[in-house]
Structure formats: C-alpha cells, structure tokens
Subunit: 272 residues, 2 copies
C-alpha cells in the first residue's frame, strides 16, 4: 500500500535479523552502516587479524572466517601488501590490510596453512617478525593445519602445548612446542587446531572463549554443524595404511617442512 | 651437486606426490601441464559444474570444492558472465565459464546456497533454465544448504527425496520434492546436503560414488575430517530454543524464501 511504510518495516526487520546475527552478513556492509545502526558490528566486538599468504589452503581460512563472521567480529585479512594471494583452488584472496596497517594488539591472531606456502612463511623473516610482534600483544595466538608450524617458527609456541596437521605435527618440538595429538589444543592464550576441517571445531571453541557458550552454540546451529562423516576415518590412527602411503609419496615435501622446522629451531636456539 | 639432476629428481617426486593426490593442487596448474605429465588431471576424470552466484555463502562452495579438488576432478565455476560474484565474506569469486560455455552434460551439477542470493536465483528464469537444461543431462544433480531450494525451483527435484538448510527445508514440498530430515540424501542421481557445513559430508559421499570408497577415505584423511564439535548441537532438534529464536527473528527473510518457493511451485504446476 505505502512504499515508505513498507520500506521502513523492511529496514526494521532487517536490522532485527542482523542484530540477532541470524545469518552471515558481509563485514563491509556492516562497517558501512552508521554506528547507531544495529547493522553495525559493535565497536567493542573482538578484532581478529587473519594472516593470508600465497599458496594458502583456502578452506583453512574460510572455515574459521565464516564462524567469526557470524559471531559479528571485526576481521582483517593481512599480508605484506594488498596484492591478491593465491590459493590451491585458484581463487585468490585480496588482503584488506598490510602488515604495517594491521592492529598492534588484536584480540585474535590467526594463521592458516598450505604446505608449500607454509614453508615459504617459515623461511621468511618479514612474516615471522610480523607474527612475533603482533602475537606478543594479541589476546589469543591461534592457527590450524600447517599454519601452526608457521606460528611455531616465529617462536610464539615455545613452551606451549600445540596440535597441527597430522602429516607434520611431529615437527613442532623442533621449534620448542609440545605436540599434543588432539583436534583442538588450548594452552593459556594459545589455541591450535589440526588439519583443514579442524578449523570449524577450533573456531567454535574460540567463539565460546570470546563471546560465551550460548553465542558459540548459536554459530554452530547457523552453520548446521552436526557432522556425519561417511567413514570412521580422517586420522592416521584410524587409517594407518592410507596414512603410510600418503607419507611415503611426499618425501620432497616432508624434507622441506623438516628443513624449515630445523632452521627455525636453530634460530630460536631450541635445546641450547 | 648437479642442478639438472636435482631438478629432475624434484620434478619426479613432485609428480609422484601430485599423482597420489596427497595435497590439493590448483586445477589451473594441472590443466597447464602436458597431458603425458602425471601432474595433469586424467582426461577421463569427472567434470564438475559448480554454480556460483552473487550473495553466495562462500563456505557452501569451498567445502565441497576442496574435496573435489583433492579428488582430482575438472571443476568449472559457472555464472551468467565472468564478472566476480559477491559472497557474504566480502571475498569475491570469479566464474571460470559462462552459462553458454558450460559443459552440456557435466558428470556433476552442484548448487551452493546463501539465503538472499538463493531468493534471487529462484526468481531468475535465466538461472533456472540453465540449471534445468544442464541438470537433465548431468550424471549427478546436487546441491547443499539453501542451494537445494534453487535446484527445486528449477523443477529438478520433482518427485525426489531431498534435504536442505534446516531453516527452509520444509518449503521443498511446495516445489514437488519430498523433504527428508537427514544430513545427506541420495535419491537416484540426486544428492543433496543440509546447511553449510554439511557440504563436506555431502562431497565425501559423492566422492565415493564417483571414484570409489578408498578414494573418498583418502580425501577424508587429507582433510583430517574426524570432527569434534564442541557442543552436541548444530540442529534445531538439539537446540530447540535457539532455533525458535532464530526463526522468530528473520520473518522478512523467511517471507521472501516462502514467496519464491510458492511462485516456483505455481510455475511448475505442483499439486495441479
């Protein structure tokens, strides 16, 4: 009947829906809204700095990021510059902030993985220096998959329990971390997750720490996360033959991750 | 010692690793390799057409795509044109083929969700015509989350069992599908998944159909998919109060999905 009334009603309902965080809403759309608008992320919402890097496994980023977005947090995707970084799927990701622009003391620092991209990061002083600097001031220092090795190479896991992708998690002690064979490991303000799909378990665990259990359960419901894997597998313990075959077929990759871990351990003077 | 020898050894090992599919390798890199090279995806590998559309939930695409990529399949991201489509995370995705260029008879047709983007697709004759045309010739017709509603609106689920995102799955019968309250539903050559994170369960189930159980278990191990959700939630049955609150707060969204479902049902002459 009345366009103005209809529009006002729609805006009110949209604001209610978004304030309830019922569905993912683009951080950009929210940031564009005036601060008095319920569409805006609350100014005091957690600030999350997510490293993005070339040859990243995209799902390592997108699993946690989707959960953090539904949680209504401020998310920055950070790299040396704003050139899009490559991912294994051929879908590039454009950083939203450079290292220089990144928050000095984020509530959460997060590092994704991607084996050969991880090796590059582990051998890159600029990346390690950035992580160490921000990590020392961050509320939470976090990572999943091989990204945990990047964190460890920066020295941020010295003396901490941690987990990582099953293929390379045994290398963590070379860099001073205690390897714990669990899917998500919390030790003081360090939280780490196992390979790729562990990102969702990790993010929900962290969501509860940041915003409480009910918020985390709400995010889990919106993601409809009641998993039913078709096979009782997904770990080297449950799939010893497949795991042995996979390990045997990537000696060159393993060699590079191992060399990077040893070099990082020497720089950190682990065991000295 | 000898650069040529080192390089040859590295290439051989890289080829072995990739042939084993141990880690995700960019489809682009693989396509660029000569056909005699083990790095290339086998010519007879399944061809998968994944719809991408504006306001898509990125994880709806990336969960299944990551699994299909590790499975070494030919993946096309398809939309009307090659303008990047928006996602709820602010990370755009560039289509690799237009509707006109897409395979006539793909082995798999897949549709992701994203509520308001889904509504747009359900009301868009060009999208529905594309899906119906390719779906009628596809080996498998698949989708997850609200993307299943898009499939249903195209008429491809008439007389089939299907599941979808819990918020809107009850609307499927308006478009002639039988709603089955399960995480992954297979009915003849239709396979559908529930909301967002069900994409990984769906993709592994489909992987077994495409390449056999051992390949699917290998993909599950590489993804380290042995989920441990922090809460026994993730479904409206397990979280009735949270679910009721979420439903009550998005009447305007629900109204639009319902209207689009009814309109599609009328076009399909369901119940006539």
């Amino acid at each position: 009947m009345d366009h103005l009334l209809d529009r006002r009603r729609l805006l009110t309902l949209a604001a209610m829906a978004s304030a309830a965080g019922t569905f993912p809403v683009s951080a950009k759309e929210q940031d564009a809204a005036p601060s008095a608008n319920p569409l805006a992320i609350p100014a005091d919402a957690p600030r999350i700095t997510m490293l993005v890097h070339p040859r990243m496994v995209l799902l390592d980023l997108i699993g946690p990021m989707t959960a953090f977005n539904i949680l209504r947090t401020h998310i920055d995707l950070v790299w040396k510059d704003k050139t899009p970084v490559s991912t294994e799927l051929g879908i590039p990701v454009t950083p939203t902030k450079t290292f220089a622009e990144a928050d000095e003391a984020p509530d959460v620092l997060f590092v994704p993985g991607g084996t050969m991209g991880t090796v590059d990061c582990m051998n890159d002083p600029e990346v390690l220096e950035f992580l160490r600097g921000r990590g020392e001031k961050a509320g939470w220092v976090t990572g999943i998959c091989t990204g945990v090795l990047t964190l460890a190479a920066s020295g941020l896991l010295e003396g901490y329990d941690a987990t990582a992708n099953w293929v390379h998690a045994d290398l963590l002690p070379l860099m001073g971390a205690r390897r714990v064979n669990k899917r998500v490991v919390t030790d003081r303000n360090r939280m780490t997750g196992a390979g790729v799909t562990a990102g969702v378990d990790f993010a929900l665990t962290l969501a509860a720490e940041l915003r409480g259990e009910e918020e985390a359960r709400r995010v889990q419901l919106i993601l409809e996360y009641a998993p039913e894997p078709p096979y009782e597998g997904g770990t080297p313990e449950r799939e010893p033959e497949l795991a042995a075959a996979l390990r045997a077929r990537t000696p060159w990759m393993r060699e590079q991750v191992e060399n990077a871990s040893k070099a990082a351990g020497q720089r950190l003077a682990i065991g000295k």
